[in-house]
């Protein structure tokens, strides 16, 4: 009986470890996009955005964040 309880507790621990691992792996999946400004044919600053998840919508969001950052830099410079 004690052995059964011990095995049961062990298996609970194993399952929780596995599900944590899955959650950790999901957290590690992210998409990035780099936007680069070219000024008069020369490379200028680049901005890289990292967004959790995968897929075309995530990629679009990452590129949008990166280009917004560059636009912000341009507007700061203009002012």
């Amino acid at each position: 009986m004690k052995k059964l309880i011990f095995l049961f507790v062990l298996s609970l621990g194993f399952m929780s470890f596995s599900s944590n691992e899955i959650i950790e792996n999901e957290k590690q999946i992210s998409t990035c996009c780099t936007a680069t400004l070219i000024i008069n044919g020369e490379p200028g600053p680049s901005a890289t955005a990292f967004v959790s998840g995968i897929g075309p919508e995530t990629s679009k969001l990452a590129c949008s964040l990166a280009t917004s950052k560059l636009a912000q830099q341009l507007s700061i410079s203009a002012n």
């Binding site: 996009c33 400004l37 490379p43 200028g44 680049s46 990292f50 590129c63 410079s77």
Partner: protein, 251 residues
């Protein structure tokens, strides 16, 4: 009689040579200026013009009138390139008497007026020759700020001048290319104006210029600062290690 004729002949020669020295000329060369810097998706080619007299020269790269510049390019690997032009064309202004040159250089988007020496080119002249626009040209090679270049210059034009920052050859540079195909300037047309031509600096206050050494120190400082930058949206930023000139050596 013979003595009179001889004196008359010598005086005539003297007068003619003086007139030749007083004659003011200006040189105008139209070039094609082309760059494809590493990491960029496409080559940028613009028309450019060098105008030079015996005191100053001005090299203008005409990005404003270039209809072929692509504003935005995407590739499939999560990269977007946004191309912009400044409100005025970039210039390289050279003070030939003082052997200095001035240009606008950028750290990120911020411009700096930078002063540099024209005596920074350690040219090696070779025996290779070719004709460009009917001018006999000699080959010269140089390593300039991280790239190797091959130039062709002619002594048949009475100016010592060159496009972009290049100078200090005993003639006029009609062609220069980097050996890695990143940079290329080729002359299309040469005009010599037989009249005095004033060349004025396009920059308002040359005294505000910083030296090339100061500029590269600022550039390296900014590059290192951005290595640890991340904003509230998890966006990082960087500036390139090199443009035409190399600022940060590869490890």
């Amino acid at each position: 009689m013979k003595t009179c004729l001889y004196i008359f002949f010598c005086l005539s020669l003297l007068l003619l040579s003086n007139n030749k020295e007083d004659k003011k000329e200006a040189l105008i060369i139209n070039y094609t200026h082309s760059t494809h810097i590493e990491g960029l998706p496409s080559r940028t080619t613009v028309a450019s013009t060098l105008i030079s007299n015996d005191k100053f020269s001005l090299y203008e790269m005409d990005y404003l009138n270039n209809k072929n510049l692509i504003d935005e390019e995407d590739n499939e690997e999560g990269q977007v390139f946004l191309s912009i032009r400044t409100s005025s064309n970039p210039y390289i202004f050279k003070d030939l008497s003082n052997k200095t040159m001035y240009s606008t250089e950028r750290i990120g988007v911020k411009p700096f007026l930078v002063k540099d020496s024209t005596k920074i080119f350690n040219w090696i002249l070779t025996k290779v020759k070719k004709k460009i626009l009917n001018f006999n040209c000699q080959q010269a090679k140089v390593n300039y700020r991280g790239r190797n270049y091959t130039a062709y210059f002619t002594t048949e034009i009475n100016f010592k001048s060159g496009p972009w920052k290049f100078s200090d050859l005993p003639g006029t540079i009609l062609e220069i290319k980097s050996d890695d195909n990143v940079f290329e300037i080729i002359a299309n047309k040469v005009q010599i104006l037989n009249k005095e031509t004033n060349i004025v600096s396009p920059y308002k206050n040359l005294n505000e210029a910083i030296s090339w050494e100061e500029f590269t120190l600022k550039y390296k400082k900014k590059y290192n600062e951005l290595l640890s930058y991340r904003d509230e949206n998890n966006v990082t930023m960087s500036i390139p290690k090199k443009k035409i000139e190399v600022f940060i050596e590869e490890d």
